[in-house]
């Protein structure tokens, strides 16, 4: 039983290691996806940033006024939340479609499947790098200072990525086999968007609602790890523990799962 577990992990690792040794394939092909956005468009991927900025301004004005929130607090909170939430959902969407969209390549070239997943994640990370410029601009406008606590965003973001990758390992496989899971995932993420404090903040929660609603939500903790440092706060210990434990358990389950099913992917396309 344990032997079987380790042989499946080894199978997954063989694929992942081959992808990491040839990491130039991930970056070259991922960069191509970004470059496509710049063809015949001077500002290219920054169009996505402009879209995001408009969305932030619109939601900010409407909900900031509705909730009677001070703009200099609400707008940065909303911006950081929306930008990172956009990254999380885009990564998960890309993960669901990773193998289906690359059918042509998968059936012709023997590349490690993990490369296709990482190519999309790399692409999304570059787009996040574009969108992130909104945050310093807002901070300048509202004269918000930055302390050394912002450095905590590095381990926070690393934990977020670690969790996204194992989720994508599982989702890519399941969505290739059962095509309608993609729709289910999109619906779940839509609901999570409202359950996670993005357009509202945690201190707005009425007392009659159990704080458990927040504490069990994995996306709340993942978001806290990157949002709190930008807001000059240290993320709560529970968020670190939750995200670390989720990464550990997630990878421990995702690796053998991926190791078992990766050899079937080509047949399902």
């Amino acid at each position: 039983m344990t032997l079987r577990y380790f042989s499946l992990v080894a199978s997954a690792w063989a694929d992942i290691r081959r992808a990491l040794t040839n990491h130039h394939q991930i970056t070259t092909l991922g960069w191509q996806d970004v470059a496509t956005r710049y063809r015949r468009s001077v500002i290219g991927a920054f169009w996505l940033t402009i879209n995001k900025a408009v969305l932030i301004a619109a939601i900010g004005l409407v909900f900031g006024t509705l909730f009677g929130q001070p703009m200099e607090k609400f707008l940065p909170h909303l911006a950081v939340g929306l930008i990172f939430w956009g990254f999380i959902t885009a990564s998960i969407d890309a993960g669901c479609a990773a193998f289906i969209n690359k059918k042509g390549i998968i059936l012709q070239v023997n590349l490690p499947l993990y490369s296709h997943l990482m190519r999309d994640l790399w692409n999304e990370t570059v787009i996040l790098g574009h969108n992130i410029v909104i945050i310093p601009i807002l901070m300048l406008i509202f004269k918000i200072g930055v302390g050394p606590v912002i450095l905590l965003i590095l381990p926070g973001f690393a934990l977020l990525l670690l969790n996204l990758v194992w989720m994508n390992l599982v989702l890519a496989v399941v969505c290739t086999r059962y095509r309608d899971v993609t729709q289910i995932v999109q619906n779940v993420m839509q609901v999570m968007f409202y359950l996670t404090p993005i357009i509202w903040s945690a201190d707005l929660m009425p007392d009659r609602v159990s704080p458990l609603v927040l504490q069990v939500n994995p996306f709340y903790h993942l978001l806290e790890l990157v949002r709190a440092p930008i807001e000059g706060k240290v993320p709560g210990a529970i968020s670190w523990v939750y995200a670390s434990a989720m990464a550990l358990v997630g990878w421990a389950a995702a690796l053998p799962f991926y190791g078992f099913f990766r050899k079937r992917i080509a047949y399902w396309l």
Partner: protein, 250 residues
């Protein structure tokens, strides 16, 4: 530690699950459980088609293998197993050596990108490192004969130029195992001669050649051994002349 490349297939079976719409959907799986299999009785989508059946094959360095068979005999499936794309449903496939398939040489080309960028893209998909691509860049551009057009978007090329670029990149690699589905021939008269020469170079330098073809001449001039596939099985396996004669009815 570059040992001589070899391929060893042992009792390889390949089964394709055929999913229709109802079995591709998770909702129906759940519904089936709830409704007690009512849906599944009429269209149970889990049909399995055997693509390859008990294939035993050993290829050592220096081997030139031709594959013949009618359409649907399993040629493409076998090529994909030999490329490591399909993992056998049962049996064992050992593939040692760097293999490259020259099947769809335009795969990965982005029409909006320039010729030069496409050399990088295509080269990356062929398994070349950025260093190798840079080192070969000038040679590839020269061979393609595109000149200044190399920095123009690929979509502005004539179809002849597009083929020339794809061909030039794809045939730059010198793999240990070369897999082809039919021969690559291309382009205008001047390029055709050079392309022919290039194809012979690459075929000569590869350790193991695997060529699926319907052409008697091609098989006879390039292969020393031919296997005849029929309904996913090896019907015959032997010296090229003998098998080709039997297949084409002498």
């Amino acid at each position: 530690m570059t040992a001589a490349p070899y391929i060893h297939l042992e009792n390889v079976d390949v089964d394709f699950p055929i999913f229709n719409a109802s079995s591709l959907s998770l909702k129906n799986k759940v519904l089936k459980a709830v409704t007690g299999g009512r849906i599944s009785t009429r269209h149970d989508g889990h049909v399995v088609v055997r693509g390859l059946d008990g294939i035993n094959l050993r290829l050592d360095s220096g081997e030139r293998l031709g594959i013949i068979g009618h359409n649907g005999a399993g040629k493409t499936t076998l090529l994909r197993v030999l490329s490591g794309i399909y993992h056998p449903t049962s049996g064992r496939a050992e593939i040692h050596g760097h293999s490259t398939s020259l099947i769809d040489i335009s795969l990965g080309i982005d029409p909006e990108a320039t010729g030069r960028e496409n050399v990088t893209l295509r080269g990356t998909l062929m398994g070349l490192s950025p260093k190798q691509i840079n080192a070969m860049m000038d040679e590839i551009i020269e061979f393609s004969g595109l000149g200044a057009f190399i920095d123009m978007p690929f979509r502005t090329y004539s179809s002849g130029m597009q083929m020339r670029l794809a061909f030039s990149v794809s045939t730059t690699v010198r793999p240990e195992i070369l897999i082809m589905d039919e021969w690559l021939s291309t382009g205008d008269l001047d390029f055709k001669e050079r392309a022919k020469q290039r194809m012979h170079d690459i075929v000569d330098s590869t350790d193991i050649l695997i060529l699926a073809s319907h052409s008697k001449d091609l098989l006879l001039s390039n292969c020393s051994r031919v296997i005849w596939l029929e309904q996913g099985r090896i019907k015959m396996d032997g010296p090229a002349e003998q098998i080709v004669d039997l297949y084409f009815g002498a």
